[in-house]
């Protein structure tokens, strides 16, 4: 039944409608795929084999009801709350914790007919760019098991790349969807800040966090995004609009869109393979008569520092609730102060502690103005500059990550080097803009390289059209579809 793994969401809907495949068969195919590959990739923290098959059987019994994700096997990052089901954020401090409610996106996936087949690994509390900060396991890149899948949503990216889920959800605070998408050769989308409800997403940095989909292609990605996006009464920061239509106009591609690229591209540090793919992308666009111009990209010098101040300031406060009183781990201490200090000292990993300490520092008396306030002002500046830019252009194209997948362990002891892997992705978070990574090509070592598009505030529809245009141009799946160690895709 392996061939069922090759179908896209619209293709699956066709099969279901014509009763050429059952949801149970499809879900079983993905479970089989997990059985073959998961022992090496370790993308999942939990697989819901029985529940997924039961849900599949229930869907089969009802028959196709027109719901957009009917019978689509989806994996979700383990920082999304699931009622009665462990939600760990890959942290010891939440080991065994079962939330009493479902995240809005979980409700919406189910309402759209999706079957949730498991919860994926991440850097602890989504803090990291390699998935190596998980307290429980190391996830490997399906394209090369010596390499990291990227992070923090590395498990969700690897699950889709290795055909262990048709689509998945991750969260992106500084690039945590787009960077692993790039490193794993899949599509990864972060919407406009406020497009997808954060209710039930365990917070890292509230003003930057956005949930978004991973998928093999742009259309699937658009379909999953449509299902999860839109205003939510439970999240005051969601945009008060219904979910936008993203998939219908995809075919128009770049038609009528003006594209900008960073003119400093040539001077930025990046892997030669990334540079080559970026340059050929711009050439190709020009050749296909898309208007393309070089611009100065806002925030390139300042986004990382701004991000590390704001994100960690918020994190230091968001993570204060893990104290051993209400749920999760508690150290057995006689005094209240010791209980706090030891629970948090033992329960959090190194990177999380580093960030909590930095966040505490930049908010503390005497430093607030110089660090936190200043970063808020720089954020306002970057936003204003992007607003100006998007008055003239519709999209910005640039690499997603300066390098393809790096070796496991390589950057662990150098936090700043690790932080710099987010250099191309953080500006979109700081400015709250929608951005997507589309697989573009392979490095000489055979590792995927993604290209990124950023659109103006609320312009996901344009973003997806551009992404579809790039996808048509790169033909990545046709050219390299079997590269992630797949058994050959459809027909194998």
């Amino acid at each position: 039944m392996n061939d069922l793994l090759g179908y896209s969401i619209p293709e699956l809907q066709g099969l279901y409608r014509e009763r050429k495949a059952s949801v149970r068969e499809v879900v079983q195919s993905y479970l089989d795929s997990i059985a073959r590959r998961e022992s090496r990739i370790k993308a999942f923290l939990q697989v819901f084999e029985n529940a997924a098959l039961e849900e599949a059987a229930a869907l089969d019994a009802k028959g196709h009801d027109g719901r957009p994700l009917y019978g689509v096997p989806v994996a979700i990052k383990d920082n999304l709350c699931t009622r009665g089901i462990p939600t760990t954020c890959a942290s010891k401090i939440l080991e065994g914790y079962r939330p009493p409610y479902d995240a809005t996106v979980v409700d919406r996936l189910r309402a759209a007919g999706a079957v949730i087949i498991g919860k994926t690994n991440l850097d602890e509390f989504a803090m990291g760019s390699s998935c190596e900060n998980s307290a429980f396991q190391i996830t490997r890149n399906p394209w090369n098991e010596e390499c990291a899948p990227g992070g923090s949503s590395g498990g969700s990216a690897a699950a889709v790349a290795a055909d262990m889920a048709l689509a998945s959800l991750g969260s992106d605070t500084g690039g945590s969807i787009r960077q692993p998408a790039s490193l794993c050769g899949v599509v990864g989308l972060k919407g406009t800040y406020g497009r997808v409800s954060r209710y039930g997403l365990v917070a890292f940095a509230s003003s930057l966090d956005q949930i978004g989909p991973f998928a093999r292609d742009v259309r699937d990605c658009a379909l999953v995004m449509e299902a999860i996006a839109g205003h939510d009464r439970r999240d005051a920061t969601t945009i008060p609009e219904p979910s936008p239509d993203l998939h219908r106009a995809l075919e128009t591609g770049f038609e009528g869109l003006k594209v900008a690229f960073p003119s400093e591209l040539g001077t930025w540090e990046m892997d030669a393979s990334v540079r080559a793919i970026a340059e050929s992308t711009i050439d190709e666009l020009k050749k296909s008569s898309v208007p393309v111009s070089g611009v100065t990209l806002p925030g390139m010098e300042t986004s990382i520092a701004t991000y590390y101040i704001l994100a960690n300031a918020e994190a230091s406060s968001n993570l204060a609730r893990y104290d051993g009183v209400k749920y999760g781990l508690r150290a057995s201490s006689a005094s209240l102060a010791d209980m706090y200090d030891e629970t948090r000292g033992e329960g959090f990993g190194e990177e999380v502690k580093r960030r909590i300490m930095l966040g505490t520092y930049v908010l503390s008396s005497g430093y607030y103005d110089a660090y936190y306030s200043k970063a808020e002002q720089v954020k306002a500046l970057i936003r204003a500059q992007f607003e100006e830019l998007f008055k003239k252009y519709d999209l910005v194209v640039l690499p997603t990550s300066p390098t393809p997948a790096f070796k496991l362990g390589e950057r662990l002891d150098d936090p700043i080097a690790m932080y710099l892997s987010d250099i191309f992705t953080t500006p979109a978070n700081i400015a709250g803009l929608p951005a997507i990574s589309v697989p573009a090509g392979l490095s000489p070592e055979g590792l995927p390289v993604g290209m990124q598009l950023v659109a103006g505030w609320g312009q996901e529809a344009k973003l997806m059209r551009g992404a579809f245009g790039l996808e048509r141009m790169y033909r990545f799946r046709e050219r390299f579809g079997g590269g992630a160690g797949k058994t050959g895709g459809r027909g194998a």
Binding site: T87, L94, A236, T237, D323, L336, S364
Partner: protein, 407 residues
Amino acid sequence: MPETRKYETVIGLEVHAQLVTKSKVFCSCPAIYGAEPNTMVCPVCLGLPGALPVLNGEAVSMAILMGLATHCRIAPRGIFARKNYFYPDCPKNYQISMYDKPLCEEGYLEFEMDGKTRRIALERIHLEEDAGKLLHSDEGGSLVDFNRCGVPLIEIVSKPEIRSPEEASTYLVTLRQLLRYLDICDGNMEEGSLRCDVNISLREPGGSLGTKTEIKNLNSFKAVEMGIRFEIERQAGVLESGGRIEQVTNLWDSTQKKLLTMRSKEHAHDYRYFPEPDLLPLDVDPAWIERSRSALPELPLAREKRFREEYRLPDYDAGVLCAEKWLADYYETVVKAGSDPKIAANWVMREILEEIKAGAESGKAAAPVPAERLAELIALISGGAISNSAGREVFKDMVKSGDAPGK
């Protein structure tokens, strides 16, 4: 006894008032007192991972009402901030409050004292969430009940313009009366729906401000007066003997009627306030403010003045009748039904208030006889149909039977 009169007392009050909304300030749990422990909570007020606050518009309206009643400027944009500190009654280990952009600023509260009008300036009124409750366990350790978490509070901060314990308690009485007039807080200090913290310092007349100390836990008007008096004496004693005042926090022990000094802090507090990223700035448009303004009832001082002028009541009567809005309303209904204002005042202040006191401890008990019935009774007496003392007997029967006079 230290010579306290030598110093000028500088007092500022921070009053927390629980708003009487149906639901909590950031979630839909009932904001009620006295429920079984840990039954009035949800993911939001428990601060569970992933839960988010959504602001209750009614809580904002109530805060605006108090702002208008105290002549504050209502900020066009208020910003919620996180106050970060670890304490077991605070489930997120930060409190959502307002910091540099409160909802109401620069107002004042007026009251009559010793025949003069005192005006105390207010620094600010802001909206925030209440914390849970800690109890002591007999087996050692402490117990946490999170029911109170997220009940809306307004914090009303006075400028340090209060000069005596009596003035402080009169200020608080006036504030409570206003809150009850506006029907936004029940003012029950024993149950903690109105709480008062005091800042006190002494200075030589004309001198610069002294170091201030804080008293928390003042849970009655009497406690406010006593606590302040004790602290003034303590500080005066220290200064007299050439000592220095340390910046400490004292707790009022209501059973032993004394002040306990909290263990002095090694470090000063550092709450690391920053704007709450889960909420957008609170924009209050002029229309909202105007709607609130038109919903303001006649306020106590103005009503007292009107009672004196319109009904020719003595100061004392006007004060008693206007102490509570419902009582003033009741009185006016009796008068409008045709009773002589002074006779009606006597009946309401004597018979009606006595009946209420006998009936219930709390001030908001219902009147024992409908206002129209009382007016009928007064008419019978005034018309000479029955004597005054017979009238009292009839009144007692009316209370018992609920019937109209003459039945």
